[in-house]
């Protein structure tokens, strides 16, 4: 039996579409209800909070996973990344009010000590550090867009898909830092030990994903 860890929330529909397209059984997964462990044929699906998916494969609870590159990078966990599924595309970006956007046009010295609200603490630190900028981070777990309006931070560092939530809160995208999408990943140990049982599935998913590019 091959075990997949999948993120709950809005990415789950993309995951189901990929798995179904690759010929994996997903009927029970589509009707999971409140179940978090679903067995269908020779597959088991673990539904997990997106940020926990990398740990699920790292610790061997799952053989394979579909996880967002944002949470993979944030976790810092080394995983085998087979390919980009092209689903769940968005960008990691710095967003804030217009007044702060102007600071980003000047020398980076003006950004020192910037207060940044984010749930991606590690990626934010690395990103700003790569520009030589030290920031003050406010870790928030949700509704990050509220922080500048409440005076909690100067800007936010978050994933942006359509930008609708930003606009609704008076924020604009100041700088896009990296693209984000769903990736097919596995723990290094599982890949080295059980490649013979997973490569067929990995190939099927890759073939399906490649076949749908641009459609």
């Amino acid at each position: 039996m091959l075990t997949f860890a999948l993120p709950t929330g809005r990415s789950l529909d993309d995951c189901i579409e990929i798995l179904e397209g690759a010929g994996l059984p997903v009927n029970k997964l589509k009707n999971a209800g409140r179940n978090l462990v679903i067995e269908d044929g020779s597959f088991r699906y673990l539904l997990s909070k997106p940020s926990d998916v990398p740990a699920m494969v790292h610790y061997g609870a799952a053989d394979l996973a579909i996880a967002g590159s944002d949470v993979i990078n944030e976790s810092g966990i080394s995983l085998i990344e087979f390919f980009d599924t092209g689903r769940g595309r968005c960008v990691m970006a710095i967003a804030g009010p217009q007044s702060i956007a102007e600071k980003f046009n000047d020398n980076v010295c003006g950004l020192m000590g910037l207060k940044v609200a984010t749930k991606y603490v590690n990626v934010a630190e690395k990103t700003f550090a790569s520009w030589g900028v030290q920031i003050k981070i406010l870790k928030l777990n949700g509704s990050v867009e509220l922080a500048p309006a409440l005076g909690l931070s100067d800007c936010i560092f978050d994933i942006v898909q359509t930008g609708g939530t930003l606009r609704a809160n008076g924020l604009i995208v100041i700088k896009e830092t990296e693209p984000v999408s769903l990736r097919l990943v596995a723990g290094a140990g599982a890949v080295q030990l059980r490649w013979h049982s997973m490569f067929g599935v990995v190939n099927s998913i890759e073939n399906y994903v490649k076949g749908t590019v641009g459609k």
């Binding site: 810092g76 080394s78 085998i80 990344e81 290094a188 140990g189 599982a190 080295q192 030990l193 490649w195």
Partner: protein
Amino acid sequence: MNRNPKGCSNIGGAAAGRIEYCRNKALKLFAYYGYRPFSPAELQLIEDVWDKLSPAVSRKLIALTSPYGEPCVLRGDLTLSAVAYLSAHFRDDERPLRLSYADRVFSAPKPPKSNLEENQVGVELIGWEGAGTDAEVVSLLLRTLDALSIENSAVVLGDMSVIARLFDGVPAERKDLLIEALKEGSYSNYKQILDGTDIPEGSKKLLRALPSLKGECSVIGEAMQMIDDPSLLMPLKRLCDSLSKLGFADRIRVDLGFIRDLGYYSGPVFNAYSSISGALLGGGGRYDGLLAKVGMDGEASGFALNLKELAEHCVDKSLSPKLMLWCGSGDPADGLRYADGLCKKGISFELSWNRDRSESMRIAGLKKYRYWVDFPAKKIVAVSSGEISDLETFDSEVL
């Protein structure tokens, strides 16, 4: 209560017992194979280690200044210490040189781990032994896992010299990027870089297949059909053949895209796993290049296993005391003489000098001893059932 610094932990109770069991069992096995124990210094001079490890590993070393003002690191790698010791203390004609160790290494943790220290047990073999070096070291690794009753353990083999040769025709800058991507396990990035690299299509096809060339030993045969010079894979094939003849065939896997990142491996490399949980137990490999860096010729190979992981996966056979020996308020020498007798019989025990008989018995129950001995009365009590027997009878029949 004192708080440990973040990333550090005290190990006690059953876990400490199991670690000790694994350490002793492994070192005893290594001694049979002629490996002599070595206890390296806890601090290493930065100048001695910095250029011998990969940048990624060096950056994780924990630096400090010794009270003598010397820039040091907490020992982050036991192989470097072992090789430095061997190069300084033995002549070439004394080879082969075999060392074993069981000690701690320190480094900044890699997520999701948070511990700064790890307990390792391992061996290093330096000599001129040809293919025998690799076969000896990998089989010893497997025998160690067997000795510790780690069920379903497996070893994954790769070869750094094969990787180096396969990338021979690739422009240097691209080669570094490709190897880095393989090391990070970012196959998507690897394929992307490869697609943008200007090399003949034949070579590209092989390099494209490299991340998938893993599985049973037969994968070596598949790879041989894909490359111009199949002899490149012969050392790895011979190693697999030797291990198969020793009965390890079903526990060997091959991964031709496998890279171990310490910066000094130059030949066959390997990882050991518990195949049930997929937990990495340790690994090692061939490091002839490191020898050259310390001015030595020859071949060297070794492995290190993580003692905490071994302890977690081994079948618990730690020496936990079987009985509590209550000596009461009599002459301590009498109780100690009896204890010496138990020791000679190989029976583990704990002495109790408590003046209160019932309190001593209560503690024996608390500590889950099987028996409690009332030495002054020469009686023995089965702690769980409360059954009482004469010590003399029990001693001759059971103990």
